[in-house]
C-alpha cells in the first residue's frame, strides 16, 4: 500500500511469526494453497480434461515478481498479451518487468506465425531442431537472468503442445530432461505445464510427476458443471496430498476445502 509516496505495510502477528497482509503468498488463496517455496525446484502443473490450469501459472508469476525473482516465460499456449492482461487483474505489471529485464519471453508461437507469413517451412521436417532451438533459446535467456543473486524461474506453458507440432514423445522427454537438468545451477527452478487428454500426453505428464517436488493437478468436477465450484486443485508435495475446490471469478480465484463451498461463496 502506498501513501504520500511512502510504502506502508500492514503486519499481523500470528503465533510467533510476523507476516505481512500484503504478502500474496499468505493473502492470496491460490498461492496459500500451493505453498511453493524456494527449495521446490521442479514444479509440474497438470490440466486434466477440459480444465484450464493457466491461473496457477499466472499466480506463480505473481509470486515470482513479488519475490523480486527473475522469470523466463515460454509461451506455447497463450500469447504474451494474455499474461499482460491477467497481470493487470492480479496486480503485477509484466510490461514493467519486461522493461526491467526481470522477465524474458520465448515465444515459439510468434516465430511460427512469422514463418507462415514468410512462407518458410515453419513445421520443419527435422523435429529435433525445433526442441533443440527452443532449448538453446531458454538456456540463453536463463543465463542472462541468472547474473545477479536472484532465483530465475523457467515456466513452460505448455510442454504438451510440442507433440502438436509433430515432435515425437521420446524427443519431448529428452527436451524435458534437458530443461530439468538446468536446475544443476542452484539459481534456476523450473515449472512445467502439461495437459492430459490423450495417452501420449499422459506419458509426458506422468514423467514430470515422477520427478516433481510439487505436483499440481487441476481437474473439472467429476459430477459435471456446477455454478458454485469451477474445479478441483490437487497439490502433492512428497507424500503429502491436499485437495481444494476452486471458483473462478472475473478478478481472481477463490479456493476452499471440499464441503466448505457455501461458507466462502455467500459471505
Amino acid at each position: 500500500m502506498e501513501k504520500n509516496g511512502k510504502e506502508i505495510r500492514i503486519f499481523v502477528v500470528l503465533g510467533q511469526t510476523m507476516i505481512s497482509l500484503a504478502d500474496p503468498r499468505v493473502s492470496n488463496p491460490v498461492l496459500a494453497a500451493l505453498q511453493v517455496k524456494l527449495e521446490d525446484r521442479i514444479v509440474s502443473v497438470r490440466e486434466n480434461g477440459t480444465a484450464d490450469a493457466n491461473f496457477i501459472l499466472t499466480h506463480l508469476i505473481k509470486q515470482i515478481l513479488y519475490e523480486k525473482n527473475r522469470l523466463c516465460l515460454v509461451n506455447l499456449h497463450n500469447p504474451l498479451q494474455h499474461y499482460h492482461n491477467v497481470g493487470k487483474k492480479l496486480g503485477y505489471d509484466l510490461g514493467k518487468a519486461l522493461k526491467d529485464n526481470a522477465v524474458k519471453v520465448v515465444e515459439p508461437l510468434s516465430e511460427i506465425v512469422s514463418s507462415i507469413e514468410s512462407e518458410e517451412d515453419y513445421l520443419q521436417e527435422d523435429k529435433e531442431s525445433i526442441v533443440k532451438c527452443l532449448y538453446f533459446n531458454i538456456k540463453k535467456s536463463l543465463e542472462e537472468l541468472t547474473d545477479g543473486d536472484n532465483q530465475a524461474y523457467l515456466i513452460i506453458d505448455d510442454v504438451s503442445h510440442l507433440l502438436d507440432l509433430g515432435v515425437e514423445v521420446a524427443l519431448v522427454l529428452d527436451f524435458v530432461n534437458y530443461c530439468v537438468n538446468l536446475i544443476d545451477n542452484d539459481k534456476i527452478s523450473v515449472v512445467f505445464n502439461t495437459h492430459a487428454s490423450t495417452k501420449t500426453d499422459e506419458i509426458i505428464c506422468n514423467s514430470l510427476q515422477y520427478i516433481a517436488d510439487v505436483h499440481v493437478e487441476v481437474s473439472p468436477l467429476k459430477t459435471g458443471h456446477s455454478t458454485d465450484v469451477t474445479g478441483v486443485i490437487t497439490v502433492q508435495k512428497q507424500s503429502k496430498r491436499s485437495q481444494y475446490h476452486f471458483k473462478a471469478f472475473d478478478r481472481g480465484i477463490k479456493t476452499f476445502h471440499p464441503g466448505e463451498t457455501i461458507y466462502h461463496l455467500y459471505q
Binding site: K132, L173, N177, Y178, I183, I203, N206, S207, Y210, I211
Partner: protein
C-alpha cells in the same frame, strides 16, 4: 521369503521393479541399491535416464563404490559432445562384481528403442555381472502389456508394487524363477523399519473367521446412555399383562359383554308403529 530372494547370495540375476504413480517402487529400488552400496566389494553402476543428474549423484554419490552413467543431461548431444559410450557399450564392459542399476527402464526404451534395450538387458543377463536392477514406470509406456510382458519374461524376479489392502503395509506381487525352472508367484506385504526392508507372507483368509468378524456384535443399550433404558423382570411382567385398549379382545371377554341390552325409551309424541311394515309380504 521375498527379502531373501532380493538380498541373499548368489544374487538373483535380473530384478525388475514395476510401479506406477498410484504406487511407487522407488523405496524398494533405493533399498536394493543401498544394500549393494553397503558392500564395498560390489561396485554399483547407476545408469540414469530420468530427471536431474545432479540429484541422482547427490543421492548416492558419497559412496566410493558408486559409478554413475549420465544418459539424462545430454542424451542428444546438444550440450557439446554426446556421451562417447552408448548404453550398450557401457553395460557390456562391466565385470563380475558390478551391479547394474537402471533408474527408469521406460525412459531407456524411449531413448534407445525397445529392441536395443531388450538386447542390452538380454546380454547383461547372460553376462557375468552380480545383479541387474531396473525400475519400470508402467504408466510411461505407450503399450503397457507388450513391454511389460517382454521384460517380465526376461527377468528372474519381477516385483509389481501394489497399494495396501486390509492392512497398514503395502503389497508386492512377485514372480521368481528358480534355477531349477520352478516359478514361484506370491503376494507379500512389505514395510520399512529404520531403512530395513521387512516382508511377510499374507496369510490365506479363513472364510469362517471372516464370517465371524462380519457379524455385528450385539450392543447393550444400557452402556450407551446414562439413562435407564432396559427393564427389570418385574417391569417386563407388568408390560406383558397390560392390555392395550385398541387391540382386539379375547372371545370370552367379548361374550360377557354380549349381555348388554338396548333400552329404547319412547317420546310422548313418538309415532311408534307396532305393526310389522312387511307383514303383507309373503316371505
Amino acid at each position: 521369503m521375498l527379502k531373501s530372494y532380493l538380498t541373499s547370495r548368489p544374487y538373483t540375476k535380473f530384478v525388475l521393479i514395476e510401479d506406477s504413480l498410484e504406487e511407487r517402487g522407488q523405496p524398494i529400488f533405493d533399498f536394493l541399491v543401498g544394500t549393494h552400496l553397503d558392500r564395498p566389494q560390489s561396485i554399483v553402476h547407476l545408469f540414469t535416464f530420468h530427471g536431474s543428474f545432479a540429484r541422482a549423484l547427490k543421492r548416492f554419490g558419497t559412496k566410493t563404490n558408486f559409478v554413475i552413467h549420465d544418459f539424462t543431461s545430454n542424451s542428444c548431444g546438444w550440450n557439446g559432445k554426446k556421451n562417447e559410450e552408448s548404453f550398450e557399450d557401457a553395460a557390456l564392459k562391466l565385470s563380475a562384481n558390478d551391479v547394474v542399476v537402471v533408474d527408469s527402464l521406460a525412459h531407456a526404451i524411449h531413448q534407445c528403442g525397445l529392441s536395443e534395450t531388450y538386447r542390452v538387458f538380454n546380454a547383461l543377463k547372460n553376462q557375468a555381472v552380480a545383479q541387474v536392477i531396473a525400475l519400470l514406470h508402467k504408466d510411461l509406456l505407450p503399450s503397457t502389456d507388450k513391454v511389460n510382458k517382454t521384460f517380465e519374461h526376461l527377468c528372474t524376479l519381477s516385483l509389481v508394487v501394489e497399494p495396501k489392502f486390509r492392512s497398514e503395509d503395502k503389497r508386492v506381487q512377485y514372480t521368481y524363477k528358480k534355477l531349477s525352472g520352478r516359478v514361484i508367484k506370491q503376494v507379500e506385504e512389505y514395510n520399512f523399519v529404520n531403512g530395513d526392508l521387512f516382508t511377510k507372507k499374507i496369510e490365506r483368509l479363513d472364510p469362517k473367521k471372516l464370517l465371524q468378524e462380519s457379524v455385528v456384535p450385539q450392543v447393550n443399550p444400557e452402556t450407551l446412555s446414562t439413562f435407564k433404558i432396559g427393564l427389570s423382570d418385574k417391569e417386563k411382567e407388568a408390560r406383558e399383562q397390560l392390555v392395550l385398549p385398541y387391540l382386539p379382545k379375547n372371545e370370552e371377554e367379548s361374550k360377557e359383554e354380549e349381555g348388554a341390552e338396548i333400552f329404547y325409551q319412547l317420546d310422548e309424541v313418538d309415532d311408534w308403529d307396532e305393526e310389522d311394515p312387511d307383514d303383507d309380504l309373503d316371505i
